[in-house]
């Protein structure tokens, strides 16, 4: 059953013309992360690699391709968590960095803190020698078009948010049984400057514990925060629920209690995994025992050998 890696490219509703790119991107991120696990690498290395690939892919709302805030700027959030130590690293509202997930990992590895924000995060990045990239290199034509559209007085950013795949993330268990999660996002379309969503908040955007499992979440950030979705799902698993049942219970609770939609990828220490969502779609992929699994709509589950090119 081990190792295993599960990746998501965000929950929401994506236009048909973009769905193929999204599925392809997730599958290629799964392959890259899984190769690390097969080579004996750690779950932390695998989730950071998978999420970095999605950040570099302009089809996703993270790194390059991030949505823009109300001022037309890119501010990104990311988190990583190590299930062995419960150590975590996060950055919020960071700018001009290509791979926030890697910066989050540096916060975990190189500081005694768990979260750095805004200018402080940028200062830390330069102290670590992480190159600054021009903001323009993170902005796509598509993200700028959607930003402009949402400046209209009658626009509804919350509703429109679900019109694009959100946040990206990954969970993994390596051959040693160590569990990790990573999540990264450009946040919510036309958000206020300085808005921090669920992604960098431990227990909301993700959580990993070798004794229980790991979750990475996506969807309406404010709703995810209200119910601390990742932690709630793991509480259900501690009470004996399967990865699938726990994920569904968490998502159903979020819908009934605060009327929020989203999606999650979940693993447990034995290597059971689930990709579940209450939104219309979530692009997801998983790799286990040389098989690549992927899907986009509810109930969709394709498989193929992982060494067959997509």
């Amino acid at each position: 059953m081990l190792p295993v890696l599960v990746v998501h490219g965000g929950a929401g509703h994506i236009p048909k013309e973009r769905s193929e790119k999204s599925t392809a991107g997730v599958c290629s991120a799964v392959r890259a992360g899984y190769a690390i696990l097969q080579g004996g690498g750690s779950s932390m290395d695998a989730v950071v690699e998978a999420v970095s690939q999605l950040e570099n892919n302009p089809s996703f709302n993270a790194g390059c391709g991030s949505v823009l805030n109300v001022k037309g700027e890119v501010e990104m959030d990311a988190i990583v968590m190590d299930g062995k130590t419960l150590g975590s690293g996060a950055v919020s509202a960071v700018r001009s960095i290509a791979n926030p997930v890697q910066l989050a990992r540096l916060v975990m590895d190189k500081t005694s803190h768990a979260c750095l924000t805004a200018e402080g995060a940028t200062q830390f990045a330069s102290a670590m020698g992480v190159p600054t990239v021009p903001q323009e290199s993170l902005i796509t034509e598509y993200s700028r078009m959607r930003w402009k559209k949402n400046l209209a007085p009658d626009a509804n950013p919350v509703e429109c948010q679900m019109g694009k795949m959100g946040t990206v993330g990954a969970v993994a268990v390596d051959s040693d049984g160590n569990i990790a999660c990573a999540t990264s996002t450009g946040g919510m379309l036309n958000k206020m400057e300085g808005r921090v969503g669920d992604t960098p908040c431990i227990g909301c955007g993700g959580y990993a514990d070798n004794k229980i499992g790991a979750v990475s979440t996506t969807g309406h950030g404010e709703a995810i925060m209200k119910v601390t979705l990742a932690r709630v799902i793991l509480f259900h698993m501690e009470q004996g629920q399967s990865v699938e049942a726990a994920s569904d219970l968490g998502l159903a609770y979020m819908k009934s209690r605060v009327d929020g939609l989203g999606g999650v990828v979940t693993v447990d220490p034995q290597g059971h995994w689930a990709a579940r969502f209450s939104s219309l779609q979530m692009s997801w992929g998983a790799a286990q025992k040389d098989t690549l699994h992927y899907g986009l709509y509810t109930g969709e589950h394709f498989t193929q050998r992982i060494d067959v090119p997509h």
């Binding site: 005694s112 803190h113 979260c115 200018e119 206020m192 925060m225 932690r231």
Partner: protein
Amino acid sequence: MSAVVVVHGGAWAIPDELAEASVDGVKAAACEGFSVFKRGGNAVDAVEAAVRALEDNAVFNAGHGAALNTDGEVELDAIIMDGNTLASGAVSCVRNIANPVSLARAVMEKTAHIMLTGRGANMFAESIGITTIPTETLVTEYERKEWEKHKNYVAGVMEDFNSHWAHDTVGAVAVDCAGNVACATSTGGIRNKMVGRVGDSPIIGCGGYADNFSGAVSCTGHGESILKVTLARLILSQIEQGKSVADASQLSLRYMGDRVRGAGGAIVVSPSGQWAATFTTERMAWAAVESDVLWYGLDPNMRLKEQFST
């Protein structure tokens, strides 16, 4: 049902020279919070009023009296949460604001977001007419001296947290006559923290959580440890499993000690008015008002009472 307010002034090795002022401060804040009920206020109003009183008191590390970061500046974190709707508001790393808890409440009530950080939080404060004050007015002579003394934040918090230089968070929880619960937490963070460091206080489920179905918690102690175990949410999940507020707090704090070797404290109220103030640090200044009785303490097992009078 009778209303209850519980407040804490931080869990740490409070030196004798600050002991009396700390106890006086939490007593006054608890009374301030409770008097809000007499004026017809609800649980959210009560925790805000109590935490404002603590922020305004220079003895505590929040608002006026906050700890300085490595650059000698003040960066403040705060959260407030309404257990009725699970709505919450938070600010991280905000500067030049006397009462971050009130700014957090404005985020909850006046934006579509839950958390604002850094400059964005300050811009929001300005846009709603919250007065900006010079950093120096938030800094006490005591703090400036301590900061000079401990300029090198390198020894590691784990070893040092129980020694004499930590200076912690304030918070309040309340239940009103209608059975609504709320929590609020506010802090200047760890002395000599990196610029942009965000601790547990503004993170939902860590520094605080409130849910009318289980109760409200405000946490204090070593922030990075509280984050690792999402302490507030953990305590409430134990209550959901049928534990008393006191047992849930003790079990969770013990878990934090065993699993990540972190010390801290928590105050809890249940929707039915049960409450607890628990800590694993040397001391925690706390006070509670219920049914016209004012309870308070500082050392383990110290539980004094006097008549509450407005």
